[in-house]
């Protein structure tokens, strides 16, 4: 197939670009200590929280943004960003779906996320984040019966201050990196989950993040704690409306797994990648880290990424507990002029720790992506094992994929395996499918989905279907 045809095939319009008009109460752009105090006050936070934020802010001022990533982007003007926006009357927040602004529900409809339907059908508790404030939380009671706490981080700070204080910033310290420090200073919402000892969370927990108000960066903070022998599966899904300016997103996700606990964190992300020139997309700088603190604990990251102008993201696992397990399954799709620099870090600290990394990269159009993986085996990690597999699929000949595996092995009894492949979406595979009567678009999606199979099967069932659909939308286009 001619490459220009191919290019046309992978070019498509972002179907979910639209802006919902809900009145926001937004602070003027800019960041200083008074803005942080404003945020903290708006959220009704206790004094220690404000202090915690200010300390982060002061550290951030001394830091410089990372420049080593395989990315090329204009400098971000942090004073041009507005750090808080919320629907007008937060105290009048709706208590059920019936009370939710129909426009918001409409927004979810357009996204293919019929909230009520999804909640009812899939038994999923949805903590929908619209701009920076949780608008609705469902199934809370059922979770409450099981003893599971699932609420916005703001509520958690007010209602469970001891728990938050005990764990917040213990996985990703405030000074961890530039974006984590910024997030710690200004985060406005996000989710908090606590699963008590011995409890398996009775349903998938899910949050949909939206970025909406113009010029507003969004700083989510998520904290998930699984006590001894507890289990939870959490899904994060993102999408954003079409915009002109690039938008900054700097989230922090912290996971804590105590003894024999299991946290499965899945992300399906569909952010607006920018137009064909790369204009208007989301800048996505996220710090996600899981701490396998207890023996035999397990943390599994699964992610399907199809958005963002720029992605900088390395979900990682600190394997402290003996025989703890870290997993990373990822599909990254870039198209147009998107750039992605993603990967993972598996830090083996405890004895007999194991990790598995399966990273699939699909690059189309003129996009560029890099996989960057670090496997570090500490001196005490006797008998640690890692298996890494990185596969890249190139669609057309104007895109690129790069793999940077780093290994630091501090223990001779460790086993580290690495496999990597790069293939072009084979013309002969396409021809084979088309020669069976399958049209070009379907053939591309079939081949790409096949390529991603190993990762999709790690997703919770209903989301695997969603991920496939998402991939198809991303690579969809008119066949010339």
């Amino acid at each position: 197939m001619a490459s220009e045809e191919m290019e046309q095939l992978v070019r498509r319009e972002y179907k979910q670009g639209f802006v919902t008009d809900i009145e926001s109460e937004t602070v003027p752009p800019g960041l200083d200590e008074s803005v942080i105090a404003f945020i903290s006050q708006k959220k009704g936070e206790p004094e220690w929280m404000l202090e915690w934020r200010l300390e982060a802010y002061r550290q951030w001022l001394k830091m410089t943004p990372p420049s080593w990533a395989h990315l090329d982007y204009p400098p971000i003007d942090y004073q041009a960003i507005s750090y808080f926006s919320a629907p007008k009357k937060p105290e009048d927040r709706p208590q059920s779906l019936d009370e939710v602004d129909p426009k918001l529900l409409e927004t979810y409809e357009k996204l293919g996320i019929p909230l009520h339907e999804r909640a009812a059908l899939a038994g999923v508790a949805v903590d929908a984040v619209f701009d920076s404030v949780s608008v609705t939380t469902t199934f809370k009671e059922k979770l409450f019966e099981a003893g599971v706490i699932f609420c916005s981080i703001s509520e958690a700070i007010r209602d469970y201050p001891e728990l938050v204080r005990q764990y917040l910033g213990t996985v990703v310290p405030r000074s961890d990196n530039y974006f984590a420090a910024l997030n710690s200073a200004v985060f406005t919402d996000g989710s908090f989950v606590y699963v008590p000892e011995g409890v398996t969370c009775p349903m998938e927990l899910s949050t949909y993040f939206r970025i909406n108000a113009a010029n507003t960066g969004q700083f989510e903070r998520t904290l998930i704690v699984c006590d001894n022998k507890a289990q939870v599966s959490y899904l994060e899904g993102c999408t954003a409306p079409m915009r002109d300016e690039n938008q900054l997103h700097a989230a922090v996700v912290e996971l804590v797994a105590l003894e024999d606990a299991y946290i499965k964190y899945s992300t399906v992300q569909n952010w607006y990648p920018g137009d064909e020139e790369g204009k208007g997309g989301i800048y996505n700088f996220v710090t996600k880290r899981g701490d396998c603190r207890g023996d035999r604990s397990r943390i599994s990251w699964t992610q399907v990424e199809t958005g963002s102008a720029i992605t900088w993201k390395y979900p990682s696992c600190m394997l402290r507990g003996k025989e703890s397990i870290g997993e990373f399954y990822s599909v990254a799709v870039t198209n147009g002029r998107q750039q992605a620099d993603t990967g993972t870090k598996m830090i083996h600290i405890g004895e007999g720790t194991r990790s598995t990394i399966v990273a699939k990269g699909i690059a189309a159009g003129r996009s560029d992506q890099a996989y960057r993986g670090l496997v570090k085996i500490g001196p005490r990690a006797k008998g640690a094992r890692n298996y890494t597999q990185c596969d890249s699929l190139l669609i057309g000949d104007q895109c690129g994929a790069h793999t940077f595996p780093y290994q630091e092995i501090g223990n001779s009894s460790a086993t580290v395996e690495h496999e990597a492949t790069t293939s072009k979406i084979a013309d002969d595979q396409l021809f084979y499918c088309r020669a069976r009567g399958i049209d070009e678009e379907d053939a591309v999606s079939m081949i790409v989905n096949g390529f991603c199979k190993d990762v999709f099967q790690e997703l919770p069932m209903e989301f695997a279907v969603e991920a496939e659909a998402l991939l198809n939308v991303t690579l969809e286009g008119s066949v010339g």
């Binding site: 197939m1 001619a2 084979a426 013309d427 002969d428 595979q429 021809f431 084979y432 499918c433 088309r434 020669a435 069976r436 009567g437 399958i438 049209d439 070009e440 379907d442 079939m446 081949i447 989905n449 096949g450 390529f451 991603c452 199979k453 190993d454």
Partner: protein
């Protein structure tokens, strides 16, 4: 049914087919034989619409339609199906999924709806049994890790499910053991009917013992230089191609 007229094809500026003529009527089985590199695979690939071949002269008509104006998938849906000399592996895509997508594409083109799942399963099980393929093959990724012979049987399985009007089978016999050859031949023979035709590319007379051709053509250096009935294949088997060449030059 199929009418190839004065077909000239170049690949990367190299002339491969140099004025090829071929007419196939419904109900017929044609065998194309010829030395390596003569252009046999090129002919079937061009008819199927593979990229990279430039038709510089001539025409291909299928049931009166100009094939060269049709997309690859349109040709397949119209009933023109190519069995690959080297079937392609598609990791992660289930064999049964490809079959279903292909069948539904053809049905849709004919204005029929999607095949109901139970009916499809019944059909596929039946055809798998005919090809003596365990149903576990249906759940495996397309051709991935299949042995050479299994790949060929899988090609015929697709034909049996899709029921093409004209099946072009490129060296379907290569890599088959004697028993598998019989199974494949039986499959191909079951495709024969008064309104279907088959174009076989082969190097060996042996296949033609099992699938009896109506016509045998010798393709040498981009042209069909001799045609005859099935006895021609026998003659080629014992005498090779040189005499045909000499005869055609003379």
């Amino acid at each position: 049914m199929l009418e190839v007229k004065d077909l000239h094809v170049t690949v990367e500026d190299k002339a491969i087919l140099k004025g090829l003529n071929l007419t196939v009527q419904p109900g017929e089985v044609h065998a194309i034989m010829g030395p390596n590199g003569a252009g046999k695979s090129t002919l079937s690939a061009v008819i199927a619409g593979k990229d990279g071949y430039e038709v510089t002269q001539g025409s291909i008509l299928f049931e009166g339609q100009d094939v060269l104006e049709m997309e690859i998938e349109e040709r397949a849906r119209a009933g023109l199906l190519l069995g690959f000399q080297y079937p392609i592996e598609i990791p992660g895509v289930k064999n049964i999924y490809l079959l279903k997508a292909a069948l539904n594409a053809a049905r849709e083109a004919r204005g029929e709806g999607e095949i109901p799942a139970p009916e499809f399963m019944k059909l596929v099980r039946e055809k798998s049994a005919e090809m003596q393929m365990d149903t576990s093959f249906l759940q495996r990724a397309v051709n991935e890790g299949f042995s050479g012979g299994e790949k060929k049987r899988n090609e015929i399985l697709q034909m049996l499910v899709l029921q093409p009007k004209l099946a072009m089978l490129d060296e379907i016999d290569s890599g088959l053991d004697i028993d598998a050859m019989k199974v494949v031949a039986k499959g191909v023979n079951s495709l024969r009917s008064a309104d279907r035709a088959i174009l076989l590319v082969t190097h060996y007379q042996r296949l033609l013992n099992h699938i009896e051709p109506d016509r045998v053509h010798v393709l040498v250096d981009g042209r069909i230089v001799k045609s005859g009935d099935k006895s021609l294949a026998l003659e080629l088997e014992s005498r090779g191609y040189d005499w045909v060449l000499e005869e055609s030059v003379a």
